[in-house]
Symmetry: D2
Subunit: 286 residues, 4 copies
């Protein structure tokens, strides 16, 4: 949950050593800011230290001012760090194909402020959701993909991402695989929902394969997109119970509820700056 009163979030990663918390806390206190929420994690296997601090600040505080005051600490402890101003909503592009359950869910949550983001546009390789986009007053871009035009369309997509100043791309059941090149360019900024409990059924048609294997639960996994298909860092996962009488169609129907829920949760965690990357694993500060 976002603590009432938090104005900024500070994310820090560095080599673990004594005194980091004290140094960070001192710097924050010296700027007349208050720590609202603080989480940390030391990874014993790599010796890396991770920290998230939510702070409330005097009204005239800016990211720039905070940065200049914080720099000495950052330098002394060789921090990888970033400060986020919570008063500026992240700008998100939603990509979708024909199945709209995740899209419908994200739009509702955005409209009721449950997801603190601004949807810059909806991009799709189909026209299915144009009418709904219009109803919501959101720009809709139709980018049909064929083997021939794929790179060209990805170039257009990238141009839109830049033009719309997109912070986050949400693949809300977008059924096209992004090229390696695009994945690398957008690294850490693309969240996908995979319709299985990874690493269970990587690749295509996971519900069909779950049915064939006779599993008793099906799941969904939200993860950052990397060039390795379905191998990106996992943000969150969930499952639901199925039984022998469920057809593949039933698994798909039931799985969609889990997909919507898992994707919404992952997006919320990202928007609140609660997710940090630690190699191919994520740290999620709830």
């Amino acid at each position: 949950m976002v603590q009432t009163g938090a104005d900024f979030v500070l994310l820090i990663a560095c080599e673990d050593r004594k005194g980091i918390v004290a140094a960070v806390a001192n710097s924050i206190a010296s700027q007349d800011c208050n720590i609202i929420e603080s989480s940390q994690y030391g990874d014993a296997s790599t010796g890396r230290f991770f920290m998230r601090v939510a702070i409330s600040c005097p009204e005239d505080m800016t990211s720039e001012r905070f940065t200049s005051a914080f720099l000495p600490v950052a330098t002394a402890f060789r921090l990888d760090w970033r400060i986020y101003d919570l008063r500026k909503k992240l700008r998100a592009m939603i990509m979708v194909s024909q199945g709209g359950h995740c899209l419908n869910d994200l739009l509702y949550r955005t409209s009721t402020k449950r997801l603190p983001m601004e949807v810059t546009s909806i991009v799709s390789n189909h026209m299915t959701w144009k009418r709904r986009a219009d109803h919501e007053g959101i720009n809709f871009h139709h980018l049909p993909i064929t083997p021939e035009n794929k790179l060209e369309q990805e170039a257009k997509l990238l141009a839109m991402v830049e033009e719309q100043q997109v912070d986050l791309i949400i693949l809300a059941r977008y059924m096209q695989v992004l090229s390696d090149q695009l994945c690398r360019k957008l690294d850490g900024r693309v969240i996908n929902i995979h319709h299985s409990f990874l690493p269970g059924f990587k690749g295509a048609k996971p519900y069909h394969r779950a049915y064939e294997r006779g599993v008793k639960m099906v799941g969904a996994t939200a993860h950052y997109v990397t060039p390795d298909l379905d191998e990106g860092p996992i943000i969150t996962q969930d499952v639901s119970v199925v039984d022998h009488a469920d057809t593949v169609e039933d698994l798909i129907a039931q799985g969609q509820d889990t997909e919507s829920r898992v994707l919404a949760r992952a997006v919320k965690l990202h928007l609140e700056h609660r997710v940090m990357l630690n190699g191919n694993r994520t740290i999620v500060f709830k």
Copy 2:
């Protein structure tokens, strides 16, 4: 749940066609028996029909008498079928290595009649649990396994299974792989608990691999044992939530709770004759 008053369970599999339920119900009624619980499933993809009927009977009814009266229906519809007398508890052998969480759980449930089975013996490749077996008044057999003596020990095991008239072998965290030959001989009578959400992490050290992949849930799977390691028909599964701060040790500790729960559930379903095999999938009539 076992319905109060059920004396027998009838399991049926056959080619699906009209009139089966009526014929079975008529035969049961004509024997002055009452249907307490009935479940059925028609597999559209294979055309097979499966049915489980729990019945209460006059006091002097026996499996033999029921069988002779039921034979005409069984022949007419070419049923694969079996009748189980619930008044005779199944005889179960528990195999365990050093980790005793599943064993401890199974023993407690058996002692309080939650699991309607008779434990004929505990078999282990270690001595760890001998003292507890003694305390519970259950025979303990020590069968240490080396690459050299494996087949010999399996022969001994098989002899014990026959001598003790074992209906069900429960691998309660038994860390030795059974030979293909033994798997085939005991087909459908061995339940194993695998410490991952299959097919996620087949094979050894699943918690280590779950940690490395950075999954956000870990699971356990109870399945019948077949020569294909971790590929046998799944009976039931469950998961629990983990996070970035959980070490491999934490995953193991937390996973043990899930393992105990999942194995106990699978054993109970088997003891109540609620599980039927449909190729490599199970039908579970709850």
Copy 3:
């Protein structure tokens, strides 16, 4: 799940005695129909027997024809019974106030055929959801309620229910209490979603009271509406985990997900004729 091929659902309640299943199965077989799915329950405490049978029929079968052929069995066993033609969708009216999370969810599921119902209209005491109703092409009726006009507006509502031939009224976060008189008239046809894990926090502001009590989970309950507020027969329930840092606002936000899920599940069970009343308890044949 609705089994492919089921054309009719037969619901039966009667005094428990031998031979019912056989008689019912015989009657179905004699009409050249096939049992696709069958569930039954005998309530030991009341001696009542309940049964649900899904059947596939020859193409020219009608409810009327089935009824006349089935009448002898129904009379002989004194059955309370009803036959439902699955080819005719139930007609549902959705009532909502300002919070639209359940409405949004129900509309999406209906549009993708996950919920086999026809929405006859949306009725609200506010104008909030008129625009969305228009977008979906569904009639919207504004029925503002004051202490003065309540009975008058309920009369209008009842007229609409009759005129639109409504089978089911879904209170999708409709914040007005229906009068006793109306509850009685619509008995068994109104499903409400209560935003707590009943009987935990009956009445108003359950999330506020959950917060004050410091509970670690919050829930939602879908139930049929009766004159006794929040005491009607429960169809389904679910919960989600919360912690000390969650404000009342957080509980409300998180609870909404549970509410949507629970209401959709209850409506689906009702539409598939899986719910039967047994005094103030429900029997739910999954």
Copy 4:
């Protein structure tokens, strides 16, 4: 999870103000200790601030040395605080009546070090579990309770608590209500498992009442004991799904699994000093 390397846990509660975190972190760093894990919570409604810090220390650190160095900060910020040495296991007394599912579970977890506590004795108003206590090598005290001897027996109990230097009393399905006087004397040191999802069914026979109400889930609640029966601060809760066919006996059987799991989780949280009291609510730092 207990972070490897944590030697002490520091718990702090105070009026919220700027600079607390910095002051605490500075004091810890100045003693050459390292912060392993840190959690905090500011309660906006009361203005209270709560903090838990797990620290690793030089080998010769003691609670006394830490205390004297920390006193200036504690005084300046008027802290309610306490330091716990993780190298000293808490001493726990387990009280039980006849149902042993929680006891069996706690004993197993203790024996495998999953619960870092020392069981000083098992106290019961029945003899049922004496033999098992003997097997585990734990002292067993038989304290039968009648209306006449209740206060006298409680005096004995209190004497044992003192003599055995008990830090925590676990009511593991102990079916006697403690007197108000005793509750007050042991305030914050007694954890009870209540067999319902509080506040759903307070008082006696909750499973019977859950059955009568027709709920679709049953739960369990672990809470600190206060003179107000079943009104003490909740530590953790969980539920499991039931259906119409489950008898009261089934609810009880299934509920026992939830009870064991919930109680073990609550005890673990307490042993790791993760629970703080905030009026009648708890703060649980996971």
